[in-house]
Amino acid sequence: MVDGIQVTGISAWFGGVHVLKGIDLTMAPKAVTAIIGPSGCGKSTFIRCLNRMHEVVPGATVSGTVLVEGEDVYAPGVDPVQIRRRIGMVFQRPNPFPTMSVFDNVAAGLRLAGVRRRADLQEAVERALRQAALWDEVKDQLDKPGTSLSGGQQQRLCIARALAVDPAVLLMDEPCSALDPIATARIEELILELRGALTIVIVTHNMQQAARVSEATGFFLMGEMVEFGITRELFTNPRDKRTEDYITGRFG
């Protein structure tokens, strides 16, 4: 079995618009890979291709190969539901289910996958909330609505919800863009703690964030991957002129 994520020649379209143009990229297992680039460069589309969420948008199409732990995500006959169960996702804005309590939010993935036993659910919820560094803050308000938490807590709740189903991969689509600096710092600490436990791919606008949390970084521009390398090297000694211009703030 090959670990990590291998992407070969992935292209994506929205209707007739070609937004991702033949990306090849290998993401190391149990490490953090960051994707940076200006708005509209296709970085969000890229990670949405990894768990087959791109095709959820009407008119969106994909071609190419994605191997997650050796399994071809786009092989004929593969059920996207099964793929998504093994790949967690965290979105830009915290999006807890408004009709569910803190507990039910975290338990949602398991419960809707058919887990019924209360003890199993309780154990998984506590584990996920501890992993998401939220347990101590919410252990006394598990039956309060998920939306009653602060923005930063809601985002960690969403991370806990994704972790509760025990995924092999966690995709994070600009997880801190709606959060203040303190909440952002907590999420970054959390990413560093999760490193080594599962494969993490994080899309971010924030180059300092990529530098702080990731081992490898890819720079995307206009649907293409300009450069990919060890994070420290990419930021200190970029090979491509465009990468240099971007990270030194000359555009984007």
């Binding site: 969420m53 998504r84 967690g88 979105f91 999006n95 009709t99 969403c158």
Partner: protein
């Protein structure tokens, strides 16, 4: 514009909107007041517990019509709500472009069809083959009237559920049908219930479609395949009759009808109020 004129314009416009809002509720308040004035004296225990008295005798009640209306509306809701809500989910969730457009258009047309025409439709569809007027035929007519309202409000409310919630649920590896059933519909619940109550209130007062379907009945209901009494029908019959006592009872019937709609709406809201609110 000086601060003084700005404040004056603000006050004037604020006053106008408040006046408009007042005018909106004025008819309801007046109807209620008028019904209380005209009908309250005839609302008594007998009205709720007794059958109509034969012509020429004073007293009696409309218990059969009250029960009949409850049966008709309940049956209509049982027929119309599941179809309407599921249809609304289809319109909101379908990725197809043409079919939902057509259904939406036809639902709006159906909403504009006069209720008496829908009565004729139910007459042709149910009464003629069964060869008798029946509660079932009345319920079918009322259900058809409910359908477009329920379909369109359900659709709007399901659409209001943020796509970020759908995406969150899909990304958890939950199949789409479960996402709709367990995440989208509960989030839209409060609003859908409001739409359902509007539809129920609308059909509870319908008279025309019941004239040649439910037909009316001066006795207790004898089964769903038999003619059945309904408050609007009884009100109509009593209001055009030449007896003062019947007129009083017609007013009382109208008052009770409004009261029932009010109580059912209130009860549905309280009973289905979730712990956490979704889209309203």
């Amino acid at each position: 514009m000086t601060a003084r004129t700005r404040r004056a314009v603000n006050l004037a416009m604020g006053g106008l909107t408040a006046l408009a809002a007042g005018l909106v509720i004025l008819p309801l308040v007046m109807i209620f007041a008028f019904l209380l004035f005209q009908g309250a004296s005839a609302v008594n225990v007998d009205f709720f517990t007794h059958l109509p008295k034969p012509v020429g005798e004073d007293g009696g009640g409309m218990s059969n019509a009250i029960v009949g209306s409850l049966i008709l509306v309940g049956l209509a809701a049982g027929l119309g709500l599941p179809i309407g809500i599921l249809g609304g989910v289809y319109l909101a969730e379908s990725r197809d472009r043409r079919m939902p457009w057509l259904v939406r258009f036809l639902a709006d047309v159906l909403n504009g069809v006069p209720s008496i025409v829908i009565g004729i439709f139910a007459y042709a569809l149910v009464v003629l083959p069964m060869r008798r007027f029946s509660a079932l035929a009345g319920a079918v007519a009322l259900a058809v009237i409910m359908l477009p309202i329920v379909v369109r409000t359900s659709e709007e409310l399901v659409r209001l559920v943020p796509s970020s919630l759908r995406e969150a649920a899909l990304a958890l590896g939950i199949p789409e049908w479960k996402v709709i059933l367990r995440v989208v519909l509960p989030t839209a619940r409060a609003g859908i219930i409001t739409g359902v109550m509007v539809a129920v209130a609308r059909v509870a007062g319908e008279t025309a479609p019941l004239l040649f379907t439910a037909f009316g009945n001066r006795f207790w209901h004898q089964g769903l395949d038999q003619p059945i009494a309904a408050l609007p029908l009884q009100i109509f019959a009593y209001a055009i009759a030449p007896y003062d006592d019947w007129h009083r009872q017609a007013w009382a019937g109208a008052l009770v009808l409004i009261g029932m709609v009010f109580i059912v709406s209130l009860a549905a809201r309280v009973a289905t109020r979730g712990r956490f609110s979704g889209v309203r």
